[in-house]
Amino acid sequence: MSIITNINKVFDHRIRLGIMSILMVNEYADFNMLKELLGATDGNLASHTKALEKAEYIKVEKQFIGRKPNTRYSATNIGKAEFKKHINALEKLINKQ
């Protein structure tokens, strides 16, 4: 059962999978873009981004656009590598059936 070890618990949620997927193909995404694409509430999304940030899979940058605060996220190298491993593990599990 060595494959199971590659299934990453941190990604074990629809919203987190979504955040990582978006950040894999976009250089960065801001909070509102994630919110719209994932259809999540502010609090829900914030808790998931925090979990991913804690694992150092994503990087958070707070800045101001004019006077508005803007939070943008990008995937770290570790995050990208871990997410690829996770996808490969998922694929192997599916092919096993």
Partner: protein, 202 residues
């Protein structure tokens, strides 16, 4: 987790990657109409040139100016129709028309197109108009290929076809007009129709 859930995860990942990076609401119908406009425009231009006293096109006549006007109108109508129909389609899907994906699509589409447009204008001013049709096809093809990275569908292949038609037109300048008609008229209708039946009518 059940194996079925893993499959759902993978699908979700794919879907999010596409949705967040590619603009998917391009309307197929607008492709058909752009092709129709191009056909009408070229038919009018053809008729104008054939019924003119000379029977062929020269650079500083009124007919040439009229042809440029037709070209401009075809482009204007095509773009307007494209924007309107794509907005309607995006609304139906609950997608935003002007988000980061469509901005990227338009930006990358415009780079080769504007470069080519300026190039063609400059050589027209210099009096070299023999390759205009070919150049339009080639630069338009490059614009499509460049934009295809930010949309779904097979715009890339439409781009390849336009580039090939453009190169053929370069080889046989005498057929430039007809290749332009095939590229901008017929190919748009075929491609738009194909996309319309494949994606739009569900």
């Amino acid at each position: 987790m059940e194996p079925k859930d893993y499959l759902k995860d993978i699908n979700e990942i794919k879907d999010m990657m596409n949705k967040s990076s590619r603009f998917i609401s391009l309307s197929g119908l607008s492709g058909i109409l752009a092709g129709v406009y191009a056909l009408i425009g070229s038919a009018v231009a053809y008729w104008l040139v054939r019924t003119s006293a000379r029977g062929y096109l020269i650079l500083d006549g009124t007919i040439f100016k009229l042809c440029l006007l037709i070209l401009f109108l075809v482009a204007l109508f095509s773009i307007t129709t494209g924007i309107i129909l794509t907005t309607i389609k995006a609304k139906k899907h609950g997608a935003k028309i002007w988000d980061s994906t469509s901005k990227r699509l338009v930006f990358n589409f415009l780079i080769p197109l504007i470069a080519g447009g300026l190039y063609i204008l400059i050589i027209l001013i210099q009096g070299k108009y023999g390759q205009t049709g070919a150049l339009m096809l080639i630069f338009y093809g490059l614009a499509l290929v460049n934009a295809s990275k930010y949309s779904i569908g097979y715009i890339r292949y439409l781009g390849f076809i336009q580039i090939i038609l453009g190169l053929i037109a370069t080889l046989f300048p005498g057929y430039g007009f007809w290749l332009w008609v095939i590229g901008f008229g017929v190919m748009h209708i075929i491609y738009g129709g194909w996309m319309h039946f494949k994606y739009d009518r569900k």
